[in-house]
């Protein structure tokens, strides 16, 4: 079978929807679709359920395409169109000729026979401006165009029977009717006064400015086309719509409602504002009537959409089995959780994202309340693993770190007609090298430090203000020579999470391994004379702190420059200084960084309130970036990028510094190759990324997570339930798709070898037998240990007090996995008798004491032996007394290592494979 054939299979298969957001056409075909541009196609790839619907009347030429209309969940879909009139740029940017997009529920109301659709009452619309005093920034259409107020008393088009008339205000509202039957007549309380106690401004319990998914305005470019991403919501997110849930009562039966995407095309103000007093002042206001008013609604274009069922089978109030660790696995775990509840034989699994280091501690050094399974990228340091409590690793998820972006084009004047035509259209492709990423991470661009007024740094003088001004960036992204960026603050650095993670360390290693980036970080200016911020200099001599940065590679993203900006005093108070962490605030997670880029809003408290009465109110939150002028870069993971429909940058490899570099997209091909390029690390059976020129296809920041579990520290039920988790998540849970229980888009499935390794690991978790305490240490000569039954069958005999361990068991006595391994291995292990808790004094009594609580449920004898050991005063451990138990522990450990290896025969085969694959 040829590779091409395979690739085609891949594409037509359901797996093709994976990495939907990453569908950079060029990355699949290997060629740019638009020479000289960064790509204009930010739409998601077509699916079998793609639908195109035409407009009517004055919008007859409009053709609207939705890339996916079935098997949907809470996800982004792509809405693209052609044949529209170019958006009129007015004082309000969207003065006319734009689209408004909503999600609605309900049966066809019969109003347009040629294009069935729901009534306007059943659409989520009118919250994008929904706070007291309003919120600015994102919602650009003016006035009632972002509201459900369809008319007012006294207007020419007023008809009180058309909606809900609020006599207090004279406003005529289009009510919202939820799928459950509740009706919200007016969305806001006109009498609300925040100074008075009680009362609420916003009255709609079903959606608000935070939860609405409406697109208040989408622009059409000069060629009549446009593209927008639309975030669909299921009933879980939007209970007023109830999509995917049995929420609609029909004849006493509960059924899943019909759901729709509705596009309301808006024309020129002179047409759209007919019947209102705003008509005369259309030039000032632009279109300012509600899309739900009768006239605009008559033009609505409906597209039916079908959701997968999302009702969760998990029941609250059941004791959960807990897991914690790496955030990169969190979206997958969230999808698996409900599937694991199905059938009711397993408890719900909880997942708490924590730093990898903390997660490793849960396994290597458990305390009361620690979860029994951790998800990590790097394994636990073997030195921290007690030989009598081995750690099993099961490969779990493959995804990647990515730099997601949301950049809309602003042509630099004078702009060519081609460039003008693309105004406001999102950029589809960005290429980044390790050195460019290093620049973004090290506060080396001016706009990362020019907090209103720049610091007085000599090194900063020759540095570009932001990415778009950096010839190093433009040489790999030529279209940016034609573009300008509205907010350089968010285009000169990345949105970053605060916590420590293995993923961060992997990223730094990729940067530090690149000669070009390494030279830059060490203080050598690049060929364009840009210098690294000396707070990040990797030489002690060049670093302002006197300490070299980056050795060892950091596992977080410091904002190391100490500059703070002090504002002038205000009338009543002096604002506190603003520092780097205010200017570019940290996010809590990769999910949040992605969401920030999608909304182009990082919530930085950098807006000066000149009327502030106290320092703590002097700096308010900035507003979301202006529609059509957004530019934000986020470090996130491929699954979160997919969820939020972010474009993702292509990266070059460490060491690929020549003139003809390969930029690799974080798509399924790049991630799969990235996985294949990983190499074994210091713990057998755990792959780690290799920073370097491994393969031209390998995405350099591919990440692989492992579940780590120490079965012997757990009771049988816990082991069985964790094993079941692994068995599901590494088999059926590796099918990419949007259904609950599947692997969410943005991941690639484990390859067959890793699946086999995971299956073997699950077996081990279920079946691994503890090695019994050994015979008195003096009686453990190599290869002559007495065979005794496994611990579970050992009568609980008290061990002789100071000399700890009573028995030993050769390691092949237990798991089936081991017995399949064949004679080679059994001969290897047989010569190494397993032994002994005896040497536990070596790892210090404190550690043992700490684990006692966690081990209460484990095998009694083991616990008993430990207590005995603990009772041994450490002072008594003289050289001779240590030596004997040490021999025991060495034997045991060696046996366990061998056992570890033999459990993964099939996984090893995989490593054989890439060896065969020549260039």
């Amino acid at each position: 079978m040829s590779r091409r054939r395979v690739v085609r299979n891949w594409v037509v298969s359901p797996l093709a929807i994976m990495l939907a957001s990453l569908a950079i056409v060029g990355s699949a075909s290997g060629a740019d679709d638009l020479a000289g541009s960064q790509g204009t196609d930010t739409s998601l790839p077509a699916t079998e359920s793609q639908v195109t619907v035409g407009g009517r009347g004055s919008f007859e030429s409009l053709r609207i395409t939705v890339n996916q209309t079935r098997n949907l969940t809470n996800q982004a879909v792509s809405i693209t169109w052609a044949g529209g009139q170019p958006t009129i740029q007015g004082p309000g940017r969207f003065a006319g000729n734009f689209l408004q997009i909503f999600q609605c529920w309900g049966d066809d109301d019969g109003s347009v026979p040629g294009n069935p659709g729901p009534p306007p009452e059943q659409c989520v619309q009118g919250a994008s401006n929904g706070t007291y005093n309003g919120v600015s920034g994102a919602a650009f259409p003016a006035g009632n165009a972002t509201s459900r107020v369809i008319s007012q008393s006294g207007w020419a088009n007023f008809d009180a029977t058309d909606g809900n008339f609020d006599a207090r205000t004279g406003l005529l509202w289009r009510p919202f009717r939820s799928v459950g039957g509740s009706v919200v007549n007016e969305q806001v309380d006109p009498n609300f006064n925040p100074v008075l106690p009680g009362g609420n401004y916003w009255l709609n319990s079903f959606f608000n400015i935070i939860t609405t998914n409406e697109v208040p305005g989408a622009a059409t470019s000069a060629d009549g086309t446009g593209a927008e991403l639309f975030q669909l919501e299921t009933g879980v997110q939007s209970s007023g719509l109830g999509c995917g849930q049995r929420t609609q009562t029909v004849n006493g039966q509960r059924q899943i409602p019909k759901c729709w995407i509705v596009v309301v095309p808006r024309g020129t103000p002179t047409v759209e504002n007919t019947g209102t007093p705003l008509l005369d002042r259309a030039d000032n206001f632009g279109v300012s009537t509600s899309p739900l008013a009768e006239a605009p609604w008559a033009n609505r274009i409906s597209i039916p959409i079908e959701f997968n069922p999302v009702d969760s089978p998990c029941r609250l109030g059941v004791t959960e089995r807990r897991i914690a660790g790496n955030e990169l696995a969190a979206p997958a775990v969230a999808s698996w959780q409900p599937a694991l509840c199905t059938g009711g034989s397993l408890p719900p699994f909880s997942y708490a994202p924590t730093g990898d280091g903390q997660a490793r501690g849960f396994i290597s050094n458990p305390t009361a309340g620690s979860p029994g399974m951790a998800i990590v990228q790097r394994p636990i340091d073997p030195a921290a693993v007690r030989p009598n409590n081995p750690v099993v690793y099961a490969p779990l998820t493959v995804s990647g770190l990515t730099i997601g972006f949301n950049v809309e084009r602003i042509p630099r004047s004078p702009a060519s007609p081609e460039s003008q035509a693309l105004e406001g259209v999102r950029v589809a492709e960005i290429n980044l090298t390790p050195r460019l990423v290093a620049k973004l991470l090290t506060q080396s661009y001016g706009r990362q430090l020019e907090i209103f007024s720049p610091p007085n740094y000599d090194w900063l003088e020759a540095n570009p203000a932001q990415l778009v001004n950096d010839p190093d960036f433009v040489q790999f992204n030529p279209e940016f020579a034609q573009l300008s960026i509205f907010e350089g603050r968010s285009f000169s650095g990345l949105q970053l999470p605060t916590a420590n993670s293995d993923a961060a360390e992997q990223l730094w290693k990729w940067v530090l391994a690149d000669p070009e980036a390494a030279a830059f970080l060490a203080g050598t200016p690049d060929e364009f004379d840009m210098k690294v911020n000396p707070a990040y200099n990797t030489t002690a001599a060049g670093n302002t702190t006197g300490n070299a940065f980056g050795n060892p590679a950091p596992n977080s993203f410091p904002k190391a420059d100490p500059y703070c900006f002090q504002s002038e005093p205000l009338a009543s108070t002096t604002p506190p200084p603003l520092c780097g962490t205010d200017w570019m605030p940290y996010a809590r997670s990769f999910d949040e960084t992605a969401s920030r880029a999608r909304r182009a809003f990082d919530g930085a408290r950098i807006a000066l309130n000149v009327f502030a009465q106290s320092p703590s109110t002097a700096w308010g939150r900035s507003t979301p970036q202006v529609l059509g002028r957004r530019a934000m870069l986020s470090l996130t993971d491929t699954s979160s990028a997919s969820t939020y429909g972010l474009q993702t940058a292509r990266l070059s490899r460490s060491g690929d510094n020549g003139p003809d570099r390969t930029f690799i997209a974080p798509d399924s091909r790049g991630l799969s190759a990235g996985l294949a390029a990983m190499a074994p690390g210091k713990v057998p059976g755990v792959l780690e990324p290799v920073a370097g020129l491994v393969s031209r296809d390998a995405y350099p920041l591919t990440t692989l997570t492992y579940a780590a579990i120490a079965p012997l520290a757990l009771d049988a039920q816990a082991r069985s339930e964790y094993a079941a988790f692994l068995e599901y998540s590494t088999a059926a849970g590796q099918v990419v798709g949007n259904r609950l229980g599947q692997l969410p888009p943005g991941y690639v499935p484990l390859n067959a070898e890793l699946v086999a390794q995971a299956a073997a690991a699950a077996q081990t978790v279920r079946n691994l037998q503890p090695v019994a305490p050994a015979a008195p240490p003096a009686a453990v000569p190599e290869s002559a240990a007495p065979v005794v039954p496994p611990v579970t069958e050992t009568p609980q005999t008290p061990a002789p007090a100071p000399a700890p361990a009573p028995a030993s068991t050769p390691s092949q006595s237990s798991t089936p996995a081991r017995s399949t391994a064949g004679s080679t291995q059994s001969s290897a292990t047989a010569t190494v008798p397993a032994a002994v808790d005896a040497a536990v004094p070596v790892d210090a009594e404190v550690a043992v004491v700490e684990t006692d609580d966690a081990l209460v449920e484990s095998e009694e004898v083991v616990a008993e032996a430990r207590r005995k050991v603990t009772a041994t005063p450490s002072e008594s451990v003289g050289p001779i007394r240590v030596a004997v138990p040490v021999l025991g522990v060495m034997a045991l450990a060696s046996a366990l290592m061998a056992l570890e290896l033999t459990k993964r025969p099939r996984r090893s085969l995989k490593l054989d494979d890439p060896l065969q694959e020549g260039p």
């Binding site: 040829s2 997968n308 959960e320 030989p387 059926a732 590796q734 064949g822 451990v877 030596a883 060495m890």
Partner: protein
């Protein structure tokens, strides 16, 4: 090798298809319709946000969507009152009569209830190096913390801090106190504690900050001179963890220090021990929290009075332990409906019960049974809450026990002897760096040097040697006692040499470190105590050696006894005892050798075996041999 390559692509694909077939139309196909929940939103406390975030992430699997914006307790209460969120999270109750002059909050009576949602400690996360090594075992008395956050103590080598840390050579570095810039319940709790324990220090600071006479507790902490303000716990932790922020110390929930892997200061408690807010210690501490049990007044019911916690003499007590609360609506209105109340009831019940299981692993402390029980009654008052589903029998909370005691508090370990106020100082790390020890200079023996073995006697030994040293300057420390540091009664009891009590912490400790200089040091120590009480910074900053640069200049010209104190510290640089509990001895060396040897034996046979397998072309190829990696790099 295209063929092979293609097979490698096909295999997972085939496996995936097979899996899909086996599963039919997917795992969810046979699921019956279950109840669905209306999405709810909350806002508030960043102190408890790590716990709340874990809760809301986990209830997704039950079909419950909860949005939470950790914008600070003040913003949470404000937006709850504005009706833009369905519930608030706040570390303190509504402020009907704010003590700091901010506008009063006026919720409608009977429209809300409080439930504690998690317990934890306000930790003092710091960023400090000595000779390039990160300090992980810093200890601070409450008085010193108060002085740091009010700008009285400005240098890390202030004698008062030196006295807290006899095992450390404190660097001559400026302290940068990092406080909250936004309205914060953590600031309110911190100032409440300070007012209860060190009122004079707070009052003096408040007067000078121009707030007087509104000098009660405040959510809006005035930034101390030389300090910096940051938004949210995330901002404070983010700032303190930066490389340039060396010398910084900020107050955050303990969980944030775990998240960024930074240490927290152990704080001296009334029992004479330095403790950190581990989940166990917090559980112990809050046994003394007085919960308002007047059910007739919903404006205060279940709120906390922490004065008992502040002065709790249990050696495990952490004084800045507290509860954080949900504020839940009891009336529908605005965007809050019964349908949302149903979701909120379920979510709150989950928060009280199952969610408490993961508190400890996140750095919080699970709630005790009495509070959970009372809270469940409160949850039942939410309109739309399904009362039948709120019962304590099904509530899976890790602190519950058959006899009603708080298991976590009952089983909490006593602090180590080296955490006792006095001459010894534990080397063990804290917070997010539990595993990182800090080399401590063991307390030197007294001038006679005769009592060296005292240190070796492990528990209590340190104290004993301190006693020895102190005996020299016993009289002098008496003077220290006059400063009122005398509160450190524990130290006194421990050493038996009443000497160590006085300047207590401060000066007595100083004496102990300065092994060589005896009476002189302690005498100066006494002077130090007096000086710092007056708030004069005269003694700070004069070091004979800068421990960061290692440059030792001529002994600084110092006013008062500071120079002598510094000399005393220099004595401490040189470890004089090896065979010490917290030190490094032949036994430790032996252990390391043994461990290395063991590791060798762990890996070498396994490695050798793999090599054999590779060489022989056996059916079990190596998973980890080096040549594999190299070959692939060359591809």
């Amino acid at each position: 090798m295209k063929r092979r390559a293609s097979r490698r692509l096909v295999v997972p694909f085939a496996a995936a298809v097979l899996a899909a077939l086996i599963l039919g139309s997917g795992p969810m196909a046979s699921v019956d319709a279950q109840e669905s929940y209306q999405r709810i939103s909350g806002e508030g406390s960043s102190w408890s946000a790590n716990a709340i975030d874990a809760m809301r992430v986990n209830v997704r699997q039950f079909g419950i969507t909860v949005d939470f914006n950790p914008s600070g307790s003040s913003a949470g209460r404000k937006n709850y009152l504005n009706g833009t969120v369905d519930f608030a999270a706040s570390d303190i109750p509504f402020q009907f009569e704010p003590e700091d002059g901010s506008p009063p909050e006026s919720p409608a009576p009977d429209s809300y209830v409080y439930i504690p949602v998690t317990a934890g400690g306000t930790a003092f996360m710091y960023n400090l190096n000595i000779n390039g090594q990160r300090v992980t075992n810093l200890r601070l008395s409450g008085e010193n913390i108060s002085k740091i956050f009010t700008g009285v103590i400005k240098q890390w080598n202030d004698p008062a801090i030196v006295a807290d840390n006899p095992g450390l050579v404190m660097p001559a570095r400026a302290i940068v106190p990092v406080v909250r810039s936004d309205g914060s319940g953590a600031s309110a709790q911190f100032t409440l504690w300070m007012i209860a324990r060190h009122k004079g220090i707070w009052d003096a600071y408040c007067q000078s900050s121009g707030r007087a006479p509104k000098c009660g507790s405040t959510s809006f902490y005035p930034t101390p001179p030389g300090g910096i303000a940051q938004g949210g716990d995330l901002g404070v932790a983010g700032y303190v963890s930066q490389g340039f922020a060396e010398g910084a110390i900020g107050y955050v929930n303990y969980s944030y220090a775990l998240g960024v892997q930074f240490p927290v200061a152990k704080v001296l408690n009334a029992g004479g021990f330095y403790t950190e807010p581990t989940p166990e210690n917090v559980a112990v501490s809050l046994l003394e929290a007085k919960i308002n049990n007047d059910e007739s007044n919903p404006a205060t019911y279940l709120t906390q009075d922490l004065s008992g916690v502040y002065s709790n003499g249990d050696p495990r007590n952490y004084e800045l332990s507290s509860y954080s609360y949900f504020i839940l609506p009891t009336k529908v209105g605005g965007q809050f409906t019964e349908a949302k109340g149903r979701t909120l009831g379920r979510f709150s019940y989950y928060a009280m019960c199952e969610a408490q299981q993961q508190s400890a692993s996140l750095g919080y402390s699970p709630l005790p049974v009495n509070l959970v029980s009372a809270s469940l009654e409160q949850i039942a008052k939410i309109p739309g809450a399904e009362v039948e589903n709120i019962n304590i029998q099904a509530c899976n909370n890790p602190t519950f026990s058959a006899d009603g005691t708080n298991v976590l508090a009952r089983d909490a370990p006593r602090p180590a002897e080296c955490d006792k106020q006095g001459a010894a100082q534990c080397a063990t790390g804290t917070g997010g760096l539990q595993d990182v020890q800090t080399a401590t200079a063991p307390p030197a023996a007294g001038s006679g040097g005769a009592t060296a073995p005292g240190g070796a006697a492990a528990p209590g030994g340190g104290a004993a040697s301190g006693g020895g040293a102190a005996s020299g300057g016993g009289a002098a420390t008496g003077g220290g006692a006059a400063t009122g540091g005398g509160a450190a009664s524990g130290g006194g009891a421990a050493t038996g040499g009443g000497a160590a009590t006085g300047g207590g912490a401060a000066t007595g400790g100083g004496a102990a470190t300065g092994g060589a200089t005896t009476g002189g040091a302690t005498t100066d120590g006494a002077a130090t105590g007096g000086a710092t009480t007056d708030g004069t910074g005269a003694l700070t900053g004069e070091e004979a050696c800068d421990p960061d640069t290692g440059i030792c200049g001529p002994a600084a010209q110092v006013s008062g006894g500071g120079a002598v104190a510094a000399v005393a510290q220099l004595g401490a640089v040189i470890p004089t005892t090896l065979d010490q509990n917290a030190g490094w001895g032949s036994k430790q060396t032996l252990m390391v050798i043994v461990i290395l040897f063991t590791l060798g034996l762990v890996f070498i046979p396994a490695y050798a075996w793999r090599q054999m397998a590779v060489v022989s072309g056996a059916s079990l190829p190596s998973p980890a041999s080096q040549p594999v990696a190299q070959d692939r790099v060359s591809v």
